[in-house]
Every structure is written in structure tokens, then in C-alpha cells.
Amino acid sequence: MKKNLQIRLLVIVALAAVSAISFWMQGINLGLDLQGGIHLVLQVETQEALTEEVNQVRDRLEAVLQDEQIPFSQATVDDELRIEIRGVPADRSRDARRALETSAVNWTLRSQPGENGVDFILEIMAAARKALLDLTVRQVREIIQNRVDQYGVAEPSISVYGSGDVQDQIILELPGVEDFDRVIDIIQNTAKLELKMVHPDGPREFESEAAARAAFSGGFPDDQYEIVRLRDRTTGPEPRYMVVRKAAAITGQHLKNAFRSEDPLTGASEVSFFLNSEGVQLFSDVTGRNVGGYLAIVLDGEIRSAPRIESKINTESARITGNFTADEADDLALVLRSGALPASIVILENRSVGPSLGLDSIRSGVSASLLGLVLVVVGMLVVYRFSGVNAVICLVLNLVFLLGALAYLGAALTLPGIAGIILTIGMAVDANILIFERIKEELRRRKGVNSAVDDGFNKVFSTIIDTNTTTLVAAAFLFQFGTGPIRGFAVTLAIGLLANLFTATFVSKTLFRVILGQLKVERLSI
């Protein structure tokens, strides 16, 4: 046997072996649509975090001006998140500018003459704005990752993407998860915990917001108190409202830990949380100053309960009660542990697939693949007889390479991906057909078998490159355009085409050389 031929055969066998081993060792990952699971596209409402930050800066600036005893008529945030500080007396405007500049570093500061004195307008710088939004998305991503890990998902995949200036969308894939609603709740729960003092005067609960407002005849100072809905399942379905201080005494940032516990008397599930040292200090201060008052436990803008403060409390733990089921209490503790989301998230897309539909898809996919394979193999053998065997070997090798590459790359096999395999089966023999037909044509021109085969391969080579390239171009755009399952298809198709290029030109030619060179075949069965 010629050395060149030996090397060729060695290359083929080695590649096939590597593919087979890779397939054997790694197996093929099934996509979400086949094994079941959740695919979510989440939008982080970064604007919320920005608004929050701007309001905090406003509060800070207000405090700074008050500290420096610089008078002003008002400090507000406008619709475009600019801070306007109006009515600084002209003689103090220099002091005001210095104070504002030092306490709002990443902000641009403009001043203009206003109705009574000088007005200052501050706007956050573009770079700082972007940094803040990026940070928000990153925090949200980490918190979601944390929650998903704690819930116990085997191989979650989380990635940030987006087309705008700030990438503010998160794609989350959770294979094998069945409790769609529960997991979505855990992810989406903002989990913003705040402890707020209830207004000391008047009754505690009201039946409507209007009633609450009316009870404080002439109104309560809007910038210090707010009306919050009470969600307590023990009081029935009717909504109740309470008036509480806007500023939280203690927030989720002061939390150290949280877990589900049981009421020692009733055995009902509840959530215990533990405060860090700063939180304990704040807790003891606020309870000490307000003995006899009520402290509202506000979760995501709703009051869960508002127990009476009997005495100054020095302990580090507190409880959230509210008729939870065990699962609900577990989930709430989980989200409290993982921290509050700095901005809420909106679900843009949700694809949840149960395992049975995937199983059904796999069954039909496998039977369709087998039928397609049988049809093509029989077709090739009928048309090309013994040379058909050559094409069939190429086809089988093509599939082996394809599966091996999918396993090696860890690319997930999706339902469209199965379609891609079937399509590969159909298209794989195309190049063989082009070559075989050309060989037949050369034979008809009374060429010798050897030169007919060589010419067949050489003359068709560029055509095969062309046809494969155009399909690859389409696959590339497909990959660019698609998400999840569609990408799976594009990847399968592209690998199939590349494997095809190799089998049709290299493997098939080698096989012909073996037949013609080693077996000394005089007449080609084609």
C-alpha cells in the first residue's frame, strides 16, 4: 500500500475515533426544548436604580446645604432626572456652588438667575450614568445567580445582553426545572425589606387611601409619611392601608441571614431574619424611642405585619408572619438571604417546557432521522450500486463527526438541531452525487477508470466549495439572528456542512483509491 494512502486512512480512522470517544465520554447535551426547563429573557428596569440614586443625591445635597446654612427655596428632581435647587440668595451662590461641587462629584453643575436668587441645575454625567446602570445590571445578575444556585438548579446559564448603550437584558436558562411559577416568583421577587414606623396618631388601619388621608385632616406632611397597603391574609381579602414614615428605620441591607421557622404555639410557617451589628444598634434605638408605637414590616412596598413595640428590643432576630405555606416561607427566606434587587425586573419572554413534550419531540425526531437515513441510504445504493456504499460510508462518518463535534463543543442539541441533523443526512450525499455524476460523465468519454475518478474529483471541487459556502453563509446569519433552539440548528447545520466537505472530498477519494489501487478494480460499479 502506498504510504500516502496509509496516512490518509490513518487520518480518517483517527478522526472517527476521536469523534466517537468525544461522543462517548461527553454525551450530547439536550437543549431546554428537549429535556424541559425554563428559558427567560428579563429586562432590568435600570431606570429605577437611577431614579433612586438621583433622589438619594438630592437628599444628600439638601442636607449639605442645610449644614452649611445656605438658604434655598426648594430642591426637586425633574422628569429628566435633573436636580434643581432653586432660590439660593445671590450673595451665597459662591458658597452653594462650592458645597454642591464637592458633594456631587460626577455631576455637571449649571447655574442661572432664577425668580428669587440663583437656581442650580445638576445633571449626572453620561459616564457615571452608564457606570451606575451597568453596575445595577451586574448586581441583578449576581443576585439572580445566587437565588438560582440556592434553589438548586443543576446547570443554570445566565448571560447579559442587549442592543443599546447599556446591556440591560438577562437571558436565563434553567434546564430540568419543573416548578415554573415558583422559580419565576423567586427570580422576580424584588425582596426589598424595610422596617418603618407607623404614624403615632390616629387609628392604625384604614379601609382606603382616601380614608387615611381624610383622617389626618389637613393632610400629613407628604414628604415624611406615606400610605402603604397592608397585605395580611388573616384580615381577609379587603385591602387595608396604614400611614407610615417614608424613611425606613432598618432596611434589607442590615440583614445578616434569614430562614423559615415555625411559630412555637401554632406551628405556622414564618420567616425569621437576623440583623447585623449595625442593624441591631438601629433596631434597639428605634424600639427604645418608640415604646408603645407600631413598627411596620414592609416587603416590596406592602406591609406584612405591624407589631406593637412593647419595650426596647436588643435582640438581633425578628420574624415575618403572615400565613405562609412552608414552600412560600422557604422561598421568601431564600430571596431575603440573597439580597434585594436594586431594580425590578420584567419578564420579556418566557418559554417553559415540561419533560414529556421534550420526550415526545425526541421520539419523533429519532424516528424521522432513521426514516430519512434509510431512504437516503437505499436511494444511494439503488442509484450508484457499489459506489453507493462509498457514499454511505461517507454519510455515516459525517454523522459520527457531527455528533462528536457537538459533544466536544458542548453545544446543546435542540429540536431544530435534530432537524439540522436530518437535513445534514440529506445534504451530505449531495457532494457525492456531484462527484459520481462527473465520474460517470468522464467514463462515458472513454477515459480510464483512474483518470475518470481523478477528473471527477478535481473538476467538481470548486463547485462543492461554492455550494457549501453559500449554505454556510446562511447558517452564519441564522446564528447571528437566532437565540437558543435556532442557534442549535445553525451550529448543527454548519458543523454538518464542514464535516461534509471533508467526507465528500477526502474520505470518498481515499476509498476510491483503495478500491482502484489496492483491489485493482477494472470496471467501476457506479
Partner: protein
């Protein structure tokens, strides 16, 4: 074996028949697009929206919710539709899905406009609760769980809770947990194998379950009438984005192929190939409109694949034309093209035929989820093969004649 032995067909003599046939098919598609778009047409809309409205776009593009539900018994479509409407949902389509014996429904719901940010998930939850009220209100109650919708973790928890007394005393907690996990896996596995639903208590008989578990199943569970197999919700924003991206992806891949063909062949051939390609995609899309078949993401994937694949026959023919032009400079272009088509006819039929066989197998057995995908390819491959002979070749001849006329005129 040759499919056709040394054909000597004068293809270009029939070009008018081909053109008429293609125009007819294109016209049918266009007419269908227009008639279907008309009722939804509002003044000020561009032609692109016209095309889009003429198609039955899936939730991937319109936004909305698509739910697959499996019932234990044959469901009454009307009852499902009515109960959903009464539940405040907007079911657009309630149809049987896949084999009738599988009792599966596909329910498509339009987006409900609410100010709540999470209404995407709220819809499928409302659907589930509504169907449960409609079909299982008798069975529910007394804290019983629906075995057909219970998740693995819920099932394990409930079985343990039911059986806290029966567990052997010397068994450790982890062992108990493991034992119940195993039992739950058996149940869930059997349910999955059955397609998601136990339709009859007798289906539980053959399972290898512990006596205590059977008792717990009897006392604390019921077999619900249905189960949600999958939920796909797409918000309007994502839908619009996907539609835009699909549109551009198809356009760009046509452009990409044009550039490649332009580099490899003369411009004439490139243009002819692209015209044939547009023809293939347009007629295939027309078929989707005519038959009111749904266009989903996977159908777009099929169309893109078609862009890459259906040009192959054209390339094979044009490659041969180029070779023949080089070899016999004397003959006129028309007879060279006829000769080239004839010389490559066998491979054209065989390559398309083999791919067609594979795709047809997919169409027959691939299941309903891939139905649109395989339909697009079945139609597209036939049209694509036809067009490389019937459309691409005449275009080349005409273009060449036009150029020569201009040269002669100038």
C-alpha cells in the same frame, strides 16, 4: 443508474411556460397576502406591514402566549374556549395538536393589556386556574394535590408528610428522603412516559410503589383532567424585535449570498441566481399565506436554510455553463445553457431528490412542532430546483441579449 439518460431537452424553448407558471404561483401568494392583510389594513401602513399582516405570524413575532395542554380525555374545544373567555383571557386559537389520540390542545392567546409588569406570567397562571376550575372543581378540595400537575419536589414533600408515622423508626432522615425521592421519581417518570398525564388510576397499578405511597396517593391526591406541557410567552417588545431581526436576517443572507456569487461568477449569473432565490423564498412564503400556516422562528430558520441551499442547483448549472463557454466559444449562449442543464440534469434531480427524501421523512414523522419547518423545506426544495432551470437560466440569456443589444445600439 441514470434517472434521465443523456437528455437533449431544449429547456429555453419552454421559458414562457415556466415564467407563466412562476408568475401564477407568485400571484397566488401575493393575492393571498393581500386578501388576508386587507381586513387589518389601516391607512398609512407600508408594504412591509402588508406582507406581515398577510401572514399567520406565531407568538414569537406577535407577542402573546402559546400553551400546550394535554387532557386525560378527549377535550371539547368549545368548552375550553368558552371557559377561557369567561376567565378574562383572549383565546385566539384553540386547536388540536398532533395525533388526535394524544388529546393535546394548542391554545394561543393574545396579549392582555394591563399595567402590571408581570402580566406575561400572569396569563398562563390565569389559564391554568381557569381550566382547573372548569374541569376539576369537583375533584379539588380538602388539601388534595393534583398528581398530574404536581412537581417532583411537591410530591416528595407531600408523600413524606402523609407518611411521617409509617417510616421505620431506625431509618435516618436522609434515607427517608432518598426513599421518597425514588418513589416520586418512579411516579414522575411514568407520567412523563405517558406524555404528561395519568388518564386513569389503573395506570398506577403496574408501578412498583410502596403500600404506604399507594395509600397516600389514594387519600391525598387526585388525577386532574389536564396538564400544561409547555408555556411560551413572548412580550410585544421581544416579538417586534424578533420580527425585525428575522426580516433583516433573511435580507442579509440574501445579500451575503449575492456578494459571494458576485465574487465567484460574473455579475449576470449572480443577479440571475438571486432573482431565482427571491422567487423561491417569495413563493414559499406565499404558500404559508395560502394555507394559513403559522410562521414561527423555526420557519424563519427553514427559509434561511433555503436561501443557502436552493442556490446550490443554480451554482452547479452555472459552473457548467462557465466551463462550456470556455470550451466551445462558437456556440451561442442559449444552446450552451441548454446543454449545461442537460449535462447536469441527473445530479440536479438526485441532489435535490435525496435532500427531499430526508426532509420529507421529517415532514412525515418529525412531529407537529417541526411541521412548519419541514413544510417550508419540502416546498422550498421543489421550487428551488425548478427555479434554477426555469428562472435563473432564462434571466441570464435575457440579460446577455440586453447587453449585446445595447452594445450594438451604441
Amino acid at each position: 443508474m441514470d434517472i434521465v439518460r443523456e437528455p437533449k431537452i431544449q429547456w429555453l424553448n419552454y421559458k414562457w411556460i415556466f415564467i407563466c407558471l412562476s408568475l401564477l404561483l407568485s400571484f397566488l401568494g401575493a393575492a393571498s397576502l393581500v386578501t388576508r392583510a386587507m381586513p387589518r389594513w389601516e391607512s398609512g401602513m407600508g408594504p412591509v406591514q402588508g406582507v406581515i399582516f398577510g401572514l399567520n405570524l406565531g407568538v414569537d413575532f406577535t407577542g402573546g402566549t402559546l400553551v400546550y395542554v394535554k387532557f386525560a380525555q378527549t377535550p371539547e374545544l368549545e368548552r375550553v374556549r368558552r371557559s377561557l373567555t369567561e376567565g378574562g383571557l383572549r383565546p385566539e386559537e384553540v386547536t388540536r395538536f398532533d395525533d388526535e389520540s394524544k388529546n393535546q390542545l394548542q391554545i394561543r392567546m393574545a396579549q392582555i393589556e394591563t399595567d402590571k409588569a408581570d402580566n406575561l406570567t400572569a396569563q398562563s397562571r390565569t389559564l391554568f386556574e381557569t381550566l382547573r376550575q372548569e374541569f376539576d372543581s369537583q375533584k379539588m378540595g380538602e388539601g388534595r394535590l393534583d398528581l398530574n400537575n404536581v412537581s417532583r419536589s411537591e410530591l416528595i414533600a407531600k408523600l413524606r408528610e402523609a407518611d411521617s408515622a409509617a417510616a421505620p423508626e431506625d431509618e435516618s432522615l436522609t434515607e427517608t428522603q432518598r426513599r421518597y425521592q425514588e418513589q416520586a421519581d418512579r411516579l414522575i417518570g411514568a407520567r412523563t412516559q405517558l406524555g404528561g398525564v395519568f388518564s386513569d388510576p389503573s395506570q398506577l397499578q403496574d408501578l412498583d410503589l410502596e403500600e404506604s405511597v399507594r395509600k397516600a396517593l389514594d387519600e391525598r391526591f387526585y388525577l386532574g383532567s389536564f396538564s400544561l406541557l409547555s408555556v411560551e410567552s413572548v412580550g410585544p417588545k421581544v416579538g417586534q424585535e424578533l420580527a425585525d431581526r428575522a426580516f433583516w436576517a433573511v435580507l442579509f443572507s440574501l445579500g451575503g449570498v449575492l456578494v459571494y456569487i458576485g465574487l465567484r461568477f460574473q455579475l449576470v449569473f449572480g443577479m440571475a441566481a438571486i432573482i431565482a432565490l427571491f422567487h423561491d423564498v417569495f413563493i414559499t412564503v406565499g404558500f404559508f399565506s395560502l394555507l394559513h400556516k403559522e410562521i414561527s422562528l423555526t420557519v424563519i430558520a427553514a427559509l434561511l436554510t433555503l436561501v443557502g441551499y436552493s442556490i446550490n442547483d443554480t451554482i452547479v448549472i452555472f459552473d457548467r455553463v462557465r466551463e462550456n463557454v470556455r470550451e466551445m466559444r462558437t456556440k451561442d449562449l442559449e444552446s450552451v445553457i441548454n446543454l449545461s442543464i442537460n449535462q447536469t440534469l441527473n445530479r440536479t434531480i438526485l441532489t435535490s431528490g435525496m435532500t427531499f427524501l430526508a426532509v420529507f421523512a421529517l415532514y412525515l414523522l418529525g412531529g407537529q412542532v417541526l411541521n412548519g419547518f419541514s413544510f417550508a423545506l419540502v416546498v422550498g426544495i421543489i421550487i428551488g430546483t425548478y427555479s434554477s432551470i426555469a428562472i435563473a437560466s432564462p434571466v441570464v440569456v435575457w440579460w446577455q441579449a440586453y447587453r449585446e443589444n445595447r452594445k450594438a445600439g451604441a
